[in-house]
Subunit: 458 residues, 2 copies
């Protein structure tokens, strides 16, 4: 396989069987057992991706697309070995259309790289998962983040894309308009398909203007449930909230230790409003009132821009902070999403479950859209701890599904959520399988993820 | 077939071969040649839909779902005769979840019926195509309307749905959360699939709060191109515009005649801002400034709520007004959508084409999202007029596609846009065909629309 791929790429630097490289591509930032691919390739062009996929199709070899490696549910595991396709070198911003609020990028561009590039236009791409993920990876999992409450998720912000399908054909889906009713929505079928239906080679993204003003505030509460209730109030008020993040005491404690910050260690809503200067002033005043109605014990503005940045950076790095508390352990982050009215009760139930299973988990999440996580640092070799985690996770997800929620709001299915998907989408799974079979009959594209197929080639 | 269906529905009132009923179900509100189905059924429950589809699958009979009959591109034509399935009797609002901003409806509910129902909750469903279409039909074409610039299209506002597939199985896709990464996005694959992949039996919709305040204004321009440029300015400013509709002189003239209004007969942008009272006052002030920068010859607020309602009603009925000008003629409404920066040039080109082809068309559209229409009343028996129309339409759509646009922003493909879809989505069409073949191997669901299949059963 190595020789064949070398003949395709004609560059020994971009076809690797080096142990360190294989190890780096043996999974994501998750707790699943790692497995090495046979070989890692680093394509630079769509033509190269096509040639590699055609080779894989002819030889029934699995291909797993790989971006920043920040998957949390096992998406990057080469379950059948084969080829890990690393997009690090396809990281060009292809074209910016500032007057159309659009940008065309290669899949290996990371969100931070993109926003650095866009700054001079006064524009930014709002989707912000915790990691500095690649746009391709973010599209593959329909990622979101703290800005989703205002700007939506990847599927709301990818207008078009090109993908290499399992037979090596290149498909252009969607386009550059904010609306279209031109045929089946292949763009959104591919977004969230986790590399199992096609491999992205180009994406057209909708951009937003960098807001004129931003105000940040913190509201402390006596319990996580009260904070959850306060979040519901904000959403029901219809105020155009920019971000609304819930962090519980344990998370703040971990962040303080990890980042040397001095945030008060109580359940807190981190809030942001952005827009024109005038709208922002009004917006945050409404939010302050709502927090007081909801019984906040302390409401504070964060006017200082450095402190403001520090606050959101701390939130973004909360997962790493949790991990930092338990050296040698692996990050485990759960993910459920609920209708607004079911959020507080689910958070309360989750806290009970954590106590019941004696797990040291931190609750944090994007409560602006009903989505929350529990983050752990777990010793994957400690069978007892892992068993307790799995039981906890199963019960938490079941509670969420029973309360009209979904088993994953933004992390995706990978292998970690497959059993819950069966429960949540029992009638949809056969249709997903029919689509997978029609578009990838040999099951070579990221096999073993989302849907189980009858036979898995290797 | 009649007897078999009567045995299924057990109600002679709901299985019809009456000539008037067949005629009513022989097409939409469009110019395509009509064709009668063999029979029209009026199911009341999902179980009945399942039984009818199973009957159709066993007997290889085509099924065409039918809502309000307001299709503009031939979606409702029973090309292979068979069954027209009318959803008029499945028009129940199943459940309202006001605290979650959600409603669950049957597909036959119309948008006006729904909003009347929701008023007491202070909520509304913002998608507003011109006609009082059914929610099922709106989902089938990924419809939108004047509110799309602020609230998005159907695909942004349908969170979950149930559909009966070609084999009679019932699939639940999506759910009740605003975010989910749980497997392939079947919801959005089915939205815009025009009844060719599955038949909706239930839809869960995202609602919005009725805004506290609304301000409406009109800005007159010397030319359509200047009005288009002004619309671009608003979008680029980032102001949270509620509606922005362009109507040209010919349209206003037709509306005045039809509705007895006295709008000035010049190219005009109809603008709306809504939100809190304070935000609205600021918002409309920003818009006024932008209009002046863009060279408006007259800017007027419409403070009077009656006049305001009249204004939007006039806009909504513009298509009917155009038709009213030519009695006995059929409504023909074109539909393209462009990236913002290409809007003005395309509108200017379209006006030239109209002159060139000596067609009396009115330009109107949702320029807030790059989408515009040309409406005609055409005598479909006048071969010369129809030929000129088709040539005009082909050139307009080609210009739009060449300027990074799409052949349909909201009307859908039906049969009227199939040849343009081939041009716009040449690489995507084979994949659409693979999906259609996998999910409807006998091609019984609304055959002959969107994608041509090898063989069409009857």
């Amino acid at each position: 396989m190595y020789q064949d791929l070398l003949e395709i790429l004609k560059d020994p630097e971009r076809v690797s069987v080096n142990e360190t490289v294989l190890e780096h591509h043996s999974g994501g930032m998750d707790y699943h057992e790692r497995k090495k691919p046979d070989v890692v390739v680093f394509p630079k062009t769509e033509e190269e991706v096509v040639a590699i996929v055609k080779y894989a199709a002819t030889n029934k070899v699995a291909v797993v697309p790989f971006g920043a490696g920040s998957s949390l549910e096992g998406h990057l595991l080469p379950l059948n070995r084969g080829i890990s396709m690393d997009f690090t070198l396809m990281n060009e911003v292809v074209a910016v259309y500032p007057e159309d609020f659009l940008v065309k990028v290669q899949p290996g561009v990371t969100r931070m790289q993109l926003n650095k590039h866009l700054k001079k236009y006064g524009l930014f791409f709002p989707i912000d998962p915790g990691a500095d993920a690649t746009i391709g990876g973010m599209a593959a999992t329909n990622a979101s983040g703290t800005n989703a409450v205002k700007y939506g998720t990847m599927k709301h912000n990818v207008l078009g894309l090109q993908a290499v399908m399992a037979d090596g054909s290149v498909v252009a889906a969607g386009g550059q308009t904010v609306k279209s009713s031109a045929g089946y929505n292949l763009t959104e079928l591919l977004i969230g398909s986790e590399g199992t239906l096609g491999i992205f080679t180009e994406l057209t993204l909708k951009l937003a203007g960098i807001p004129e003003a931003t105000v940040v505030a913190k509201a402390a509460f006596e319990s996580v449930e009260e904070a959850g209730k306060a979040a519901e109030l904000v959403l029901q008020s219809g105020v155009d909230i920019g971000k609304m993040e819930l962090v519980d005491a344990a998370t703040i404690q971990a962040v303080n230790e990890f980042k040397g910050t001095d945030f008060e260690e109580v359940p807190t809503l981190f809030l942001e409003y952005n827009g024109t200067a005038e709208a922002t002033e009004q917006g945050i005043a409404v939010i302050k009132e709502l927090m007081e109605d909801a019984g906040t014990v302390k409401f504070e503005f964060e006017h200082d821009s450095l402190k403001r940045a520090q606050l959101w950076e701390a939130r973004h790095q909360a997962a790493l902070a949790i991990l930092g508390k338990k050296p040698g352990c692996k990050l485990v982050a759960t993910d459920v999403c609920l209708p607004i009215s079911q959020l507080a009760v689910t958070i309360a139930h989750t806290r009970q479950l954590l106590d019941e299973y004696k797990l040291d988990g931190a609750i944090l999440g994007h409560v602006g859209d009903g989505n929350f996580h529990v983050a752990f640092g777990l010793d994957t070799d400690d069978r007892d701890e892992m068993e307790r985690f799995h039981e906890f996770n199963g019960k938490m997800v079941k509670f969420a599904i029973d309360h009209r929620g979904t088993c994953t709001g933004e992390h995706g299915v990978g292998i970690g959520k497959m059993k819950f998907l069966k429960e949540e989408r029992s009638t949809a799974l056969p249709v997903m399988r029919m689509i997978k079979k029609a578009l990838d009959p040999q099951n070579i594209l990221n096999p073993g993820k989302i849907v189980e197929m009858e036979e898995v080639h290797s």
